[in-house]
């Protein structure tokens, strides 16, 4: 018994040990480099006049790229080649970029048009296309891919362009690749836009490419419309497709001489917001987010739809009374309202706040901007909040430093009445000088990092407002710490180590990963952070209010959105490094689903793998959907970092959310590959079989159901031809891929000699059949007439039968010409009779000869 108890005890201890997993086991800790200490010190020399646009340079963009690429530095490299480049020698994102988009760069008519042989990285590849060595262009294009996950294209193609007979042709003209590239100020604008775009705009797995219409050109459909006398309602400058493409022309890319202004920002963000609409609609198992009830309610739209007199479907968006719009264009439809409102909410916060209804404003702020808003005052508050932790830490350091320093300062930033505790004049001067420096540093930081920084902080009134706000904020911190110093001289020593902990993300990461449910994730995260901070501060035995204050400080340094974004970037990086595993899994599922019996009987079912173009035979489609999540789960279990699998449930969940779009993308690539291959096979089949199928059709015309209408003959022919096509089409609809083919096979079928022969031969048979029908009709009319005669001259008794015999017979015989005439009239009007020009007089004569026989038959059967 004793040994059993001991055994149980050991088992329990082991379980306890395994349940309380040390956070050092987290994947994110293993794959991330030791986090850099975020220095509280700024650049010694501050140029308070510099703005974001002044610091935009290659080196800055390179630094941003490096920060992102560093997340991949511990992960497995990608294997493969792109032209001369060994992908394993490249940072993982560059390798993945070339794998995905390597065939979509430069001149799509000529892969040798640009000489990439001297390139060792992706920015160089882009710069070769721009024909500008070492230019910022290449870095901006690549940074766009890193942050947005899609391609800012540098190629001579425009998605879905009707006028594009081949790449480089648009609106009937030929253009060099350079016409499709971006101007210097447009590149700056793309980079600037990257600084402000956050989730959900940066997490759109289906958003794949941005194309530019050649410089100087309008959209081809607009040109066409103008040619046909249409247009005039304002030119379209951008289009967003739910298949993941955005196309832009010059008007959407306008940047002012002050590069921070211009229609560019609103226009491009508007188009990207359309992608948000599509993406979220799909996530919610619908079509568009903007047509979901809650959005329609706050935006005040409803749909009027009906069929008009001609049977055309009409769909019109109408406004509920009281609708308030951020712009006239936002009234067009919910989709435009969504794109316009959200983009202007971010870019013109003050205007938007005044323009839209309060519930609409709250909806957008809560669901798309983490309850923030962007009016000037709010932007300043946002900046203060962002800098709060830093400002507080610096204030802490200032108080500590100034309480000991013997240096003399001269500054009137503060005076002694600003402080709630008595402060020596020397210390007031010291604090003033340091605070003034801090104010300058932070203002400069905001101007060079925040996109509205200069426009607000350089504006006369706004600048004063900001200075006052910041001064009050710093004064609050200083007073807090001065008070502490006054009451507890050991406070600074106690709290110092915690203050040094503030920039570190570890507690925040652990807090985030201990929160499961996404519904209250933010609240859970904040609660967990507070708990962890309290545990960390427990040994210091601080008053509760101080602990709460320090917890708040830590939280301000690591807001929920930024930790989530930080973590998901690592999981994304991890999954990106495992792309080959994802592709293997996709190929395996694809193969399995092609090994089951092929059938198109069952209806397609499932939304994990879907198609907008083409078709997929339902047995394969359903198999892919059935296996999708199973394979994705298996991948999550299977992938590992240096041999170690992921075990934390939240990490598994986050990794799975990164795997799903990659897995889908791999399956779609396999589908497109198979479809392209099949299309080639179909073309070969068409060439080979056209004559044979024509022969079959013209050898037997039993497929003709209606000889009268040529349209119907053609339709019957096409149906027959399609039935004769014995090619099993898996990746498209047979009627679509063979549509033109069957048209060609059936061309002029009614003029074909064999058809005309058949018609001629059929005439005799048809005439005979028609006469039989005519005679039957006359007989039937005769029977009807006979029944009428029986009413007048009944055969109910033998006496009546005998008595009225002659009358009955006369009754029928006298009415016979009339009914015969009626039958012949009907016969003459029969389209078949008309079509085949049947000799009616001849049949009439024949009918006359049969007259007595038919009458006698009726006498016998009915009289």
């Amino acid at each position: 018994m004793k040994s059993a108890s001991l055994l149980i005890f050991f088992i329990l201890v082991l379980n306890l040990v395994s349940c309380s997993k040390p956070t050092g086991d987290l994947l994110v800790h293993k794959i991330s480099k030791h986090p850099k200490q975020e220095s509280a010190r700024y650049v010694a020399t501050i140029d308070a006049q510099k703005c974001l646009k002044d610091v935009f340079a290659i080196e800055l963009v390179k630094k941003e790229i490096k920060e992102i690429e560093d997340r991949y530095s511990n992960l497995s490299k990608v294997s493969g080649k792109w032209k001369h480049l060994d992908l394993s020698s490249l940072p993982i994102p560059q390798a993945n970029f070339l794998k995905k988009y390597g065939s979509r760069l430069g001149d799509l008519n000529n892969s040798q048009a640009f000489d990439f042989s001297s390139c060792q990285d992706v920015p160089c590849v882009f710069n070769k296309i721009y024909q500008k060595e070492g230019d910022v262009a290449g870095y901006v294009h690549y940074l766009w891919y890193l942050k947005m996950g899609n391609l800012l294209a540098a190629t001579n193609t425009v998605y879905n362009a009707k006028s594009q007979s081949k790449p480089g042709i648009y609106n009937g003209k030929e253009f060099a690749v350079s016409a499709y590239l971006y101007r210097e100020n447009e590149l700056y604008a793309f980079w600037r836009l990257l600084q402000l775009l956050k989730e959900p705009h940066t997490k759109l797995s289906d958003f794949t490419e941005i194309h530019r219409v050649p410089q100087g050109e309008s959209f081809d459909f607009e040109v066409e419309e103008r040619k046909n006398g249409g247009g005039g309602l304002g030119e379209t400058c951008g289009l967003a497709w739910s298949s993941g493409y955005v196309i832009l022309q010059d008007l959407c890319l306008q940047v002012s001489s002050d590069k921070d202004f211009g229609y560019f920002y609103q226009a491009v963000m508007h188009e990207i917001t359309h992608q948000v609409d599509y993406h979220q609609g799909r996530e919610n198992k619908g079509t568009y987010r903007s047509t979901e009830k809650d959005y329609l309610d706050v935006a005040k739209f409803y749909l009027k739809e009906y069929k008009d007199e001609s049977g055309q479907t009409v769909r019109q968006w109408e406004h509920h009374p009281g609708i308030k719009l951020v712009s006239g264009y936002a009234g067009t439809s919910p989709a435009e309202n969504f794109a316009e409102t959200i983009s202007l909410f971010r870019l013109e916060g003050t205007k938007t706040k005044k323009s839209i209804a309060e519930d609409h404003w709250k909806f957008v702020s809560g669901k798309y901007f983490f309850d923030k808003s962007f009016e000037n005052k709010e932007l300043m508050k946002n900046w203060l909040a962002k800098k709060a932790s830093d400002a507080s830490t610096r204030s802490f350091q200032m108080v500590e430093e100034c309480s000991k320093t013997t240096q003399t300062f001269t500054s009137n930033y503060f005076n002694k009445s600003d402080f709630i505790v008595p402060v020596l004049p020397a210390m007031v001067q010291c604090l003033s000088a340091r605070a003034s420096d801090l104010s300058l540093e932070i203002s400069s930081d905001i101007k060079t990092k925040e996109i509205e920084g200069c426009s607000i902080l350089n504006a006369y009134k706004a600048k004063d407002e900001w200075d006052l706000l910041f001064k009050n904020e710093v004064r609050t911190y200083l007073n807090k710490y001065l008070k502490q110093l006054h009451t507890d001289s050991g406070y600074f020593a106690k709290v110092q180590s915690f203050m040094e902990l503030i920039p570190k993300k570890d507690m925040a990461v652990d807090a985030f990963l201990s929160c499961g449910s996404p519904e209250d994730e933010k609240a859970c995260y904040e609660e967990e952070v507070k708990k962890k901070v309290n545990i960390s501060l427990a040994p210091l035995e601080l008053p509760e209010a101080h602990s709460e204050d320090l917890a708040r400080l830590y939280l301000e340094a690591h807001p929920f959105e930024s930790i989530r974004s930080h973590l998901t970037s690592y999981y994304k990086a991890f999954v990106q490094s495992q792309k080959s595993e994802v592709e293997i899994a996709a190929k395996s599922l694809w193969k399995t689903c092609h090994e089951i019996p092929i059938s198109d009987e069952a209806a397609p079912s499932g939304r994990m793998f879907t198609l907008s173009e083409g078709y997929l035979i339902s047995s394969v489609y359903n198999c892919l959907n059935e296996g999708f999540m199973r394979e994705a789960d298996s991948l999550v279990q299977h992938i590992s970092f240096k041999g170690e699998k992921v075990e934390h449930p939240k990490e598994e969940s986050l990794i799975k959310s990164e795997i799903l779009p990659e897995f889908l993308s791999s399956l779609r690539s396999l589908y497109l590959e198979a479809r392209t291959k099949e299309a080639q096979g179909i073309e070969e089949f068409k060439l080979k079989e056209k004559e044979q199928i024509r022969k079959i059709i013209t050898s037997d015309f039993s497929w003709v159901s209606d000889v009268v209408s040529e349209v119907n003959v053609l339709r019957d022919c096409q149906k027959k031809a399609l039935r004769e096509v014995n090619y099993q089409v898996l990746y498209d609809q047979k009627s679509v891929v063979f549509g033109t083919f069957v048209n060609d096979v059936c061309q002029n079928i009614t003029q074909a000699p064999s058809y005309l022969d058949w018609i001629e031969k059929s005439k005799t048979e048809l005439t005979s059949k028609s006469y039989t029908n005519l005679e039957t009709r006359v007989f039937d009319l005769g029977v009807q007439e006979a029944k009428k005669c029986l009413q007048s001259y009944p055969i109910d008794t033998s006496l009546n039968r005998t008595k009225f015999k002659k009358d009955r017979e006369d009754c029928l015989v006298n009415s016979w010409p009339g009914l015969e005439s009626r039958a012949i009239k009907e016969f003459e009007a029969d389209p078949v009779v008309v079509k085949f020009q049947i000799n009616v007089p001849a049949l009439k004569a024949k009918l006359e000869l049969s007259r007595r026989r038919l009458q006698l038959k009726i006498f016998k059967e009915h009289f």
Binding site: N160, L239, Y278, T287, K304, K307, S612
Partner: protein, 141 residues
Amino acid sequence: MGPQFILLSLFLIVSCGQKSSSVKMGVTTRAELVAIKGEPLKEEKIPIKEGQVMFYENDEKYQLKGDVVVSSFKAPLGDEQLLIFWKHKFKDCLTISKSLDKIPGSHTPHEMELACPESGQSVIYTQGSDLISRLVEYEVR
């Protein structure tokens, strides 16, 4: 036998007593529609002779011409949302695919309608999308 017979009869009565919920285009009258679906949330006139639309929950709408229901517009559910579902369903049909009139000034891609006239059904989707947004049923003429 007695109690079992009564039970069976009851079952039959119950099942026969359930109203048929199908609305037939070109046949069902306004009164019959109200009997099936209840009173509408609202009604609106439309610019066709004797035309109006009745709005119901879940974004269902019924178009009437005079006293007769002639078409309906519904949100698709489940697999009905898939465009491929309808391509499969209409594969033996002589389908017509056309773009609807563009919303003036809008720059989202065209809405398309894939119709099977012989069945009186069509679906609406946006060009480039894999999902449909509306199911339309109409009188077969």
